[in-house]
């Protein structure tokens, strides 16, 4: 077999599909949340690329066709949001206050913990916007002096962690309603957490999309400002 075939874009893209489907099956059979398909596909494909010395740009020749659908998929979240619109309007105040609290708590906690564990300034800034969806997080990261590529990786890992452990955390922190649960998953773990919430119920998913939207907007608006305050502390 010719070695350049190993980096053929159709091969790389079909592997991505097939490994993902395989991982989904595996997760269903084992019933383990830890066997997250995104996580497994990421690990397997990274091992493949590393062992055959294929760089990320080469992978992205095919991969960008998958990534292309990320934005339309986020637009699609407007549907569950629309279906819950009347409930949302009835409780504007609690939703908004909860979102602001979650956004501020998230920014403060990630910075304090990262500093405490000895992260460099650049890494702290890359971590700061990690709760929100990739495009916003990368934008904020570069605006405040982080490394956008690292931010993207941390955003995805955070989402995967939120999808795996989120429901457990919700249970232990005594969050009972599906509205509160959905909202917190979306706020903490953006669209990946939301895809896990969608599996729970449509209502759960709708509030999760609301959480990811509002926290995305708040983070984009508040992060630079809050970081300035924290710099003064």
């Amino acid at each position: 077999m010719e070695s350049s075939f190993l980096e053929n874009k159709y091969l790389l893209i079909s592997l991505t599909f097939l490994i993902y489907i395989g991982a989904q099956k595996l997760q269903k059979v084992c019933g383990l949340k830890l066997l997250n398909p995104i996580l497994i596909t990421m690990c397997v494909m990274m091992c493949y690329l590393l062992s055959f010395n294929i760089d990320y740009d080469t992978y992205q020749e095919g991969g960008r066709f998958i990534e292309f659908w990320l934005k339309p998929a986020i637009v699609a979240l407007g549907v569950p949001l629309y279906k819950q619109l009347s409930t949302i309007r009835r409780q504007m105040l609690p939703l908004l206050i909860a979102e602001i609290a979650g956004c501020v708590a998230g920014l403060f906690s990630v910075i304090i913990i990262a500093r405490f564990l000895g992260a460099s300034q650049e890494v702290v800034m890359s971590l700061a916007p990690k709760a929100v969806t990739t495009p916003i997080a990368m934008e904020v990261s570069s605006a405040i002096g982080g490394i956008p590529a690292l931010t993207a990786a941390v955003v995805v890992s955070t989402g995967v962690f939120g999808g795996i452990a989120g429901f457990q955390i919700i249970k232990y922190s005594k969050i009972k309603s599906s509205i509160a649960g959905g909202l917190s998953i979306g706020t903490a773990a953006h669209a990946i957490g939301t895809s896990a919430a969608m599996e729970q119920s449509e209502r759960y998913g709708a509030y999760s999309s609301l959480g990811l939207t509002v926290n995305g907007l708040l983070t984009a608006l508040l992060a630079p400002f809050l970081l300035e305050i924290m710099g003064l502390l």
């Binding site: 990421m42 990320l70 609690p94 917190s184």
Partner: protein, 126 residues
């Protein structure tokens, strides 16, 4: 199905136009999502004109993140050097965000609904 693609991608394009025109720091996809919600609400777009496509996309939302996730391959160096801080801060703050958001929502909701109930009771007494 072709119409569904047209509508969804059209709203995204409109989102891009808005972001570029006003130089907003918000991604076009979020604007597109708000535009879709608004168009459905005001009846400009009917649910059955998009639902097949959006169901497919939402069912497979996680998959579209895979290429970005593989991008981690370019940051393995920094990741290795500061692994503890990165993992610790991400996990710790995710737990905090979930607990704070959910708890604050429940507290405020309880407070406001108690007030509403009192209002109802008062109006009934009158």
């Amino acid at each position: 199905m072709i119409l569904q693609f047209g509508i969804l991608l059209g709203l995204l394009a409109l989102g891009e136009l808005i972001v570029n025109t006003f130089g907003l720091p918000i991604p076009s996809s979020i604007i597109g999502m708000i535009l879709l919600t608004a168009s459905l609400h005001f009846g400009i777009v009917k649910l059955n004109q998009v639902e097949q496509l959006t169901n497919f996309l939402l069912k497979n939302l996680g998959f579209f993140f895979v290429p970005a996730a593989i991008g981690l391959i370019n940051s393995l160096g920094v990741l290795k050097d500061e692994l503890l801080a990165i993992v610790g801060a991400s996990i710790g703050s995710t737990i905090i965000i979930i607990a704070v958001t959910g708890q604050v929502y429940q507290l405020v909701r309880k407070a406001t609904s108690r007030r509403n109930r009192k209002d109802i009771k008062l109006s009934q007494e009158k």
